[in-house]
Chain length 234, copies 2
DNA sequence: ACAAAAGTGTTACACTTACACCCATGT
DNA sequence: ACATGGGTGTAAGTGTAACACTTTTGT
């Protein structure tokens, strides 16, 4: 028989939640970081975080945090893991339930971010973070990588309409790998989930010749995924 | 600036840990379950679990639990996730940091298990469990599946020496999929990580003709994995 | 003129899948 | 005798990876 009996002294732990927010500017993956105020680690960079009360659901708090930062909570939010190392927070035993989400940078959430003192960092130029937030960020990157490989989640980082160059860069950043342009295009077009638009645009400020715009066929994808299909790239 | 300030009322959470223990009897995957004593859920089946004190490391407690149950803690133990649903435990807010491990059933840990009142269940014949332990078990099965696909972790479930039949059954159970015998053998032998023994044995009690024994070449695998190689089956 | 990305096919190789029969042994 | 897994090869198809040049446009 297994005993799992708690005494009052064992109810002395607190909960925090962090949300790793990923964005994509058309060429590079970004992550949102902010500066911590108050002790400990005053002024250090951290991942967006919040305290969770004993009677609060961690996902609810994470969503609220997201709404406060970005103005909406309609983003794809996914639980990562609990981080429970003994000395991760000098103020006491705190368990961090971490999430990540993907946002579209073309919807203007910038003003709000500046008011809240958050900034975007390129994923491979992130500063050293307080607490165990570097570990959490690394964990989130791995999760994003896995998801992008197996599902069309990367499209939630792109604007509604995007060029092949944008799409390829997104895959290259998320998977830390370069692809052959011809092979890449053939492979993603084979899925029949990209709709070619009649419009063109320039993929980046450096680009001279405009390129075709595509959008992701959400409806078709939903139908196919009911039958077990998924949008895989690896 | 981000404020993450805790008040004393927020330090009122407790920590538990559970370990999902997987085994393999040569033909089927098993999981270890025990009966709960004391309130709540007296007599219900649960996954091996323990309270974690505020000053204890969850991994340490999980290892201790594993040693108490199986007599040794030298098994492959891996953190799964934190489970923090508001009402997962009726006694208060309890966060469960869950782990899984793989054990070899040919090492006789059976006596000890009986004393502790644990039993092995076939993975597809598990009873309904107390708390959110069914959710945790499902999570563990998914993780095992993923790991078995990408790494030779399945070998830690098999005896030192095993037959092709055993190996194939292990993959079939872990991945919930049947494989063609000829294709399976060709594929795993191609890795050159199986050493053919000069011995033979019967793969199961039903088998009549004895079959060759193989062992996994741990040394070679360690060398290769330094170079980024891994033992993949999918 | 020049720079920069847009756009486009073919070939070789590797891997996956489907498939069927005889063999050795224990009961 | 018979039941059970042990053991073996081939061929078709699918997917992946490597590879280079012309076109269009903005500066």
């Amino acid at each position: 028989m297994i005993r799992v009996d708690f005494t009052p002294e064992q109810f002395k732990v607190a909960i925090a939640t962090s949300v790793i927010v990923f964005g994509f500017d058309g060429e590079n993956l970004k992550v949102l970081l902010g500066k911590k105020s108050g002790n400990p680690f005053e002024g250090a960079w951290i991942v967006p975080s919040s305290v969770v009360n004993v009677d609060e659901d961690t996902t609810d708090v994470a969503r609220r945090l997201l709404k406060k930062i970005t103005g909406t909570d309609s983003w794809h939010l996914e639980k990562l893991n609990g981080f429970a190392d003994l000395y991760r927070n000098p103020q006491g035993r705190v368990i961090n339930m971490a999430y990540y989400c993907t946002v579209r940078l073309d919807l203007n959430i910038e003003d709000r971010l500046e008011k809240e003192n958050y900034s975007w960092f390129n994923l491979n130029e992130t500063p050293s973070l307080a607490f165990d937030h570097n570990e959490i960020l690394d964990y989130a990157r791995e999760r994003l990588k896995r998801r992008v490989k197996r599902r069309p989640i990367g499209f939630s980082l792109l604007p509604k309409e995007f060029t092949m160059y944008n799409l390829q860069r997104m895959y290259e950043c998320a998977l830390s790998k370069n692809f052959d342009k011809r092979n890449f295009r053939r492979k993603v077009l084979k899925s029949n989930l990209l709709i070619e638009m009649d419009k063109k645009t320039r993929s980046s400020s450096r680009a001279k010749r405009p390129s075709k715009l595509y959008k992701f066929d959400e409806k078709k994808y939903r139908t196919l995924s009911l039958k077990g299909y998924d949008f895989v790239y690896q």
